[in-house]
Amino acid sequence: MIKIILKLPADSQKEVQDFLSPHFLISDEESVDEYVITDVHYVLNNQVQVTPRTFVISNLSDQENVLLIHKYRIHHLIGKNPQVYLDEILDNLRKLTSKQFWGFKHYFGENLQERIISFSDSTNIQEKMTEELSNFQFDGYFSSPNDYLRLMANELLSNSLYKGPNKKRLEKGLESSDRRSPVFLKGSDLVQATLGANDKGVALSVQDSFGELTHEILITNLVRSFEEKTPLDKKDGAGLGLYLTYLHSNQLIVNLKPGFRTEVICIIDKNKRFLNYKSRIRSFHFFEEVVSEKTHA
């Protein structure tokens, strides 16, 4: 049975322990390799050494959390939202320990309405997403999850379609593509969006076959956006898409196989009140699949 170490204040300790103990072995023995669940104040007071297996529960603001993620290289930050944070810990721990990262089955299970849309070029992104979204009934939600999903899809798909190929172009000494010019992917390159919904919430996943969105790139981008709140004058984007996506998600999850594959998943909890959607502390998860020698060869 997988061992979990809890380093939490007494009130949270009992709550988390009671919730997780049917699924994991809760231990007091400390070891560097174990999965640790802790509180943000233990991190700030340097009472915990953060590793990619550390889950940090935080009640800080989104901007403070992003700065914290950057400073301590946190891979899993859970917003302390009373109704959902325990489920989130369980879902993401199961995912991390299973080492099966791709897709959103860990969050929604198998029973969900799902639509997959593949893109080989940047034309008509918005029209295709709008058409696919029309297949979903958002009963039980605030009135506009569609608006947010369309915006996040637009930002993430544009990032995937331009930034991955642009890196290859730069490596070949070619100029990067401008967002105003259409891009057409070559050969096995792929960008795919998946929409999914069930009684837990709605999710958007955007996957590409480039694997360029590292923790460092992502968090540096978010820190700049939170601090400056201004667009950049770059040919292949304004540098704000991930920031807007972060702020419109309830959970932002990134799966990476460096050089091979990236997946960004945005989850919006099922929620009738817009106030609850927006007042939630956002959670962040970053999963990195180790590239084996065999894959390299």
């Binding site: 915006l151 709140k229 009738k272």
Partner: protein, 153 residues
């Protein structure tokens, strides 16, 4: 993406511009710059989406706009959120006259996007609104300090 359409009417130096569609990287607002009106009023009621590149294009456009007075009307909720998240969408001295905000009617169990004016908002407190169906007083359904942040810009 659906290109932005501009419906323009110029009366006594005041240019009314109705924006229809998406504001994005392909948005071209040159024809407004060429009008040389002293006052421009933008109606955002039919703007469906503004992405990060669209925000950038809008800010660049404002830098080149010579009109002395710039006003915004009927801003949808998602535009208000983008304005609050990114600096520069409203240039100093311009006025956002009216916009949509989320309200919730507990009796009908429904959210209503309700048009309010900036003058209705005092000290970043949402004005009282009644449900158009049942007449009950509705609750403002966002964080007031965050949602009305643009009014202090």
């Amino acid at each position: 993406m659906k290109r932005l359409t501009l419906n323009k009417k110029l009366n006594d130096g005041v240019l009314h511009v109705q924006l229809i569609g998406n504001i994005d990287e392909d948005t071209d607002l040159t024809e407004i710059l060429e009008t040389k009106a002293s006052e421009v009023i933008f109606d955002f009621d039919q703007v469906e989406l503004i992405n990060s590149c669209g925000i950038r294009e809008w800010i660049k456009f404002l830098d080149n706009l010579s009109a002395e007075s710039v006003q915004y009307e009927n801003c949808p909720q998602i535009i208000i959120e983008q304005i609050n998240m990114v600096h520069g969408f409203i240039r100093p001295g311009s006025k956002l006259n009216s916009f949509y905000a989320p309200y919730y009617c507990e009796d009908c169990d429904k959210e209503r996007k309700t048009r309010i004016t900036s003058n209705d908002v005092k000290s970043k407190k949402a004005p009282k609104m009644n449900c158009p169906d049942c007449g009950s007083e509705m609750e403002f359904d966002a964080l007031e300090a965050t949602y009305f942040n643009f009014l202090g810009k």
